[in-house]
């Protein structure tokens, strides 16, 4: 890539919408001079601070860990801060940016995430530990920790949620993020409420709604696999009692060293 190429001026086409003044969303073009390594978030910052302060989006960490900046970039949900602009302006020298789909728009790229957080609360995201709390840590094997990886690494950005066709039709569906959280607790050897949790996820708007279209996997900027977690929950829900028993058995040994 020549320097000239990385420093050219490109068009950033943004879907604008402020419900207080606009009847419907419209597109607005901005010209931005790229610099090497520029991300979509950098471009938005440049526009907001030098051209049009009313362009509105959420952001904080700048490096893909806080989950604020998920948006719709060239037809795909992803994090603005982790997307180099150079990769997105191949067609017509233009990148098109809008809010996450399926959610009410508050202003420009800022969407109303109420339903997203409500579903998160519905699965009771907190751990429900055993009554008998030891002085030191509960013992867990690294394998048990690894099994939780996808659920534990989730940054609640919502890219999966708003790419899910089921959510598009039915906001009562728990959604991939909340199901991942449920998975985290169901699989955690320290959690004492797997039965209750499996009950919640097997209700009408739970795991059964997932049509395994895999949109969430494609969308997830952290490379996580909510569909597989949903599959696991579905299977565990079918043999709930057995799973509860196995877990109760495991919990008898939470204070003992993992045998080598």
């Amino acid at each position: 890539m020549s320097n000239n190429d990385t420093q050219r001026t490109v068009t950033v086409r943004i879907q604008r919408f402020n419900p207080d003044v606009d009847k419907k969303p419209h597109m607005q073009d901005y010209q931005v001079k790229m610099w090497p390594g520029m991300t979509i978030l950098d471009a938005l910052h440049e526009i907001k601070t030098h051209q049009d302060g009313s362009v509105t989006y959420r952001r904080s960490c700048r490096h893909g860990i806080c989950g604020s900046c998920a948006m719709h970039i060239n037809g795909r949900n992803t994090l603005a801060c982790k997307t180099p602009i150079i990769n997105e302006v191949k067609k017509n020298n233009t990148v098109t940016i809008g809010p996450l789909p399926y959610l009410p728009v508050i202003k420009d790229m800022v969407v109303d995430r109420t339903s997203f957080w409500e579903q998160y609360l519905r699965v009771k995201p907190w751990l429900i530990p055993p009554d008998d709390i030891p002085e030191r840590e509960f013992r867990m094997s690294q394998e048990e920790v690894d099994a939780l990886h996808d659920a534990e690494a989730c940054i609640m950005c919502g890219a999966c949620y708003s790419s899910c066709a089921v959510i598009g039709l039915n906001k009562k569906y728990l959604g991939p993020h909340a199901l991942l959280k449920a998975f985290l607790r169901v699989l955690d050897p320290r959690d004492t409420a797997p039965g209750e949790r499996l009950e919640i996820v097997s209700q009408a708007d739970g795991v059964a709604r997932c049509h395994t279209i895999f949109n969430c996997i494609d969308a997830c900027p952290k490379g996580l696999n909510p569909t597989q977690a949903i599959e696991t929950l579905r299977k565990l829900a079918q043999k709930r009692q057995k799973y509860e028993e196995a877990k109760a058995e495991r919990q008898k040994h939470l204070n003992e060293p993992i045998p080598s």
């Binding site: 049009d52 960490c61 806080c66 840590e137």
Partner: protein, 598 residues
């Protein structure tokens, strides 16, 4: 004041990072029913979630394999074997790291509360990495002489933040997500409440409370290259200062040795904790010259200075010579994938370099604010150097200065500080409320005053863009109030800052709408940057010595005779800072000042 405009709670916590959430959760757990947390971004977006490397605590779960030296591999300590770590050692490391400016009573409390707080995280569901026999795994970290960084791969802050947030939800803490606090009301040394914008609607409200706690985090955004989030604009320190509270030790700003070249994002110290090397243009492990014993795992101030010397003397890497290489290739694919997956991802995404195959270009990056709102070990805010309190006002975490980090913080001690002192503040607040704390009247109409102020900003229509002022400030702070400082540069920095404060009067806010106006919040944040940056520069100019992260080329030595004391900055009537000084708490018999060598 119209009633509909006023919201009332027993306790208002500002900030939903680890410090604020611990305080809120603990107050609720201890019987306070009406606890509310305000956060300008959604709680789970708080910057605590970006912390990577670990949280310190003496757990004695692992030790170096015998005979392999201080940098050899680690193994779990078999049951019954002798511990390798102790409270005294953690205290000593922290005190030495602080260059003796840390208050030793506070350090002792932090160190002794540490195991309990980490175990509480574990019991609340935090997913830590594990040893073979299932204990919490630990790694080495800079300036710590035993492996005591308890970690969850390289997203420790993320798992801690999610865990504590969920517990706060469980305890019915009420969260106001996306409420921007713009004013703190203190009258007659008693806290009355805060004024905040509901970002969604643009409405400005007075929120009254018997106790207000600040956990608003740090202020790395004053610098050009920083590991900090956009949100880290030091609102809390500026609001407290403007409301009449003092600020302590503001001149101590930590530069982390391994920010990703040009971007500043953190490549966690765990990269070196796991064994990574720092290499200059000549391929030398240059830390041999500066810290032959601890090498790359010397404390951050020392490593950042060493890097800067290498760069200044022409041994930097990259086109402009402003970089250094962080070489992790010898750690091997497996270890990098297991222990450092997020930083590998960052290096690939932003520097197009896979640490498994190539060294990663890095440079020092503004990282942590040692200074802040002075507090007791229970989070109560001091009104002055004599130790008087501001009734009902609490602070903990990076916004505060208790002071455990003194002149330089050790890695993994700040997640710890935010947790330990957040929890202690929560307990103290519960005592305060249950002891019959009163809701004190609010004089005047602060909400209306702030509405008028915002209207004036909108009507101002000057010719300056806020961003231009912010960028100029960042250049000044980086070039003149950065890793190395001297009188000439600091004077000129103060001059720059005063001019920027003047220019700020002539700004134009582009977005004048009510709904979700982040242009407005960014403008308020810029004014905060200008407020506290002056204190950093002025404090640094006064302090004629080099200590920890404050390094004066014209006063290269530490001067205990004159400067073993905390700086306290007060806002004077004329709006300029006035300085006083406060003694450091030292245990002279146990940890007397020594020369600091690594």
């Amino acid at each position: 004041m119209q009633n509909s405009d006023v919201i009332t709670h027993d306790v208002i916590v500002v900030g939903a990072g680890l410090a604020g959430t611990w305080a809120a959760m603990t107050a609720a757990e201890n019987g306070v029913k009406d606890v509310a947390v305000l956060s300008k971004i959604h709680p789970l977006r708080s910057h605590s979630g970006a912390a990577q490397g670990g949280i310190a605590a003496v757990l004695n779960n692992v030790r170096p394999v015998a005979g392999t030296g201080p940098r050899g591999p680690l193994e779990q300590i078999p049951p019954g074997d002798d511990p390798v770590d102790s409270f005294d050692l953690h205290m000593f490391d922290t005190i030495k790291g602080s260059d003796w400016l840390g208050d030793q009573d506070a350090i002792e409390i932090m160190v002794k509360d540490a195991p309990d707080v980490v175990i509480q995280y574990e019991h609340m569901g935090c997913v830590f990495s594990r040893t073979k026999d299932g204990r919490i795994n630990q790694r080495r970290f800079g300036g710590h002489s035993a492996p005591r960084a308890n970690f969850s791969a390289d997203r420790t802050g993320h798992v801690l933040l999610h865990t504590i947030h969920e517990q706060a939800l469980f305890h019915n803490v009420h969260f106001y997500a996306e409420w921007y606090v713009m004013d703190l009301i203190i009258e007659e040394n008693i806290v009355r409440g805060v004024v905040a914008i509901n970002v969604l609607t643009g409405d400005i409200k007075m929120l009254r409370a018997k106790a207000v706690m600040f956990g608003t985090g740090g202020y790395g955004q004053a610098y050009k290259v920083t590991s900090n989030a956009y949100a880290n604009t030091g609102d809390g320190v500026a609001l407290a200062y403007n409301a009449g509270a003092p600020l302590m030790d503001m001149e101590f700003v930590q530069f982390h040795p391994t920010g990703l070249y040009r971007h500043g994002f953190l490549m966690t110290e765990a990269c070196r904790g796991e064994g990574g090397y720092l290499i200059n243009k000549l391929g030398e492990r240059f830390m041999e010259k500066y810290a032959p014993d601890k090498m790359e795992l010397a404390p951050r101030d020392l490593v950042s200075r060493s890097e800067q010397i290498e760069i200044n003397e022409g041994r930097g890497v990259m086109e402009d010579g402003q970089g250094i290489f962080l070489d992790m290739r010898h750690l091997g694919r497996e270890k990098i994938l297991e222990r450092l997956p997020e930083v590998r991802d960052l290096a690939i995404a932003f520097a197009h370099v896979d640490p498994i195959e190539e060294p990663v270009p890095i440079q020092p990056t503004a990282h942590y604010s040692m200074g802040g709102i002075p507090t007791t070990v229970d989070g109560e805010v001091l009104a002055n150097a004599n130790g008087d309190l501001i009734t009902g006002f609490y602070a903990a975490g990076e916004v505060s200065c208790v002071s455990v980090h003194g002149a330089n913080r050790l890695g993994t001690n700040s997640l710890l500080e935010a947790s330990v002192f957040g929890r202690r503040a929560g307990r103290a607040i519960a005592e305060f409320i249950k002891g019959g704390a009163k809701l004190h009247p609010v004089p005047g109409d602060p909400a209306e005053k702030n509405r008028k102020m915002v209207q004036q900003l909108f009507d101002n229509d000057g010719s300056e863009l806020v961003e231009d002022i912010v960028q100029d400030l960042k250049m000044t702070m980086t070039n003149k109030v950065g890793i190395f400082r001297d009188e000439e540069g600091l004077k000129s920095a103060l001059d720059d800052i005063h001019k920027l404060q003047e220019r700020f009067k002539n700004i134009r806010v582009m977005d004048k709408s009510k709904r979700f106006n982040t242009n407005l919040s960014m403008t308020l944040e810029a004014s905060h940057l200008l407020t506290f940056s002056e204190l950093i520069a002025a404090g640094a100019l006064n302090r004629q010595e080099s200590r920890g992260a404050h390094s004066r080329t014209d006063f290269p030595k530490r001067d205990d005779e004159n400067w073993l004391k905390h700086t306290m900055a007060h806002k004077d009537e004329d709006g300029r800072p006035k300085f006083s000084y406060k003694d450091v708490t030292l245990y002279w018999d146990r940890f007397p000042p020594q020369e600091r060598k690594y």
